[in-house]
Symmetry: C2
Subunit: 103 residues, 2 copies
């Protein structure tokens, strides 16, 4: 079952184009994770937060990635990471053009 | 600038196909909201939570919708709603197949 992973955490930058430069290699490696379908990278300089919304093929892949990514972020000095795993309601998402059937 | 809205809240059901039946009309109305691009509907019977990940054309649309939706959910008896608004890093999302350039 398609699984959505919702991650956010305190983040002091860099934001915007500088974030792109700093995180490009990480983004390329994430695309290779088992069960990974897509990630939307999120950032908010006003609240000093960042994160990501991920779609995985199944819950096991999402949970394994969350464990790995949380450890990595804490290694970057991030004090805590909020991670939530959800099933996707594909029928309701389809009504709202939700991109869950892409691969 | 494309804006991602992340919403989750305590939810005791219905889940799955029953949720689809119960929420179909709401999903159809959400598709008509100003600035709305897509929503992925999320649900977790284990943690008794549900929510949604939305993409909007701009921050003002996302914030107006969050205010409206929070009031609606509280009217359904939901005790509190977690809503976070983020900018989207489109360049990093593109590397990870993030569906932010769809319309």
């Amino acid at each position: 079952m398609k699984t959505l992973l919702q991650v956010d955490f305190p983040y002091t930058g860099p934001f915007g184009d500088e974030m792109t430069t700093a995180m490009k290699e990480l983004a390329e490696s994430i695309a290779q994770e088992p069960g990974f379908i897509w990630k939307v990278w999120t950032e908010n300089p006003d609240t000093q937060e960042a994160g990501g919304i991920y779609l995985f093929e199944d819950e096991a892949s999402a949970r394994a990635y969350l464990e790995k990514h949380t450890a990595r972020l804490m290694g970057f000095g991030i004090p805590h990471v909020n991670g939530k795993v959800f099933g996707v309601n594909e029928a309701l998402s389809a009504i709202d053009n939700g991109p869950v059937s892409l691969s």
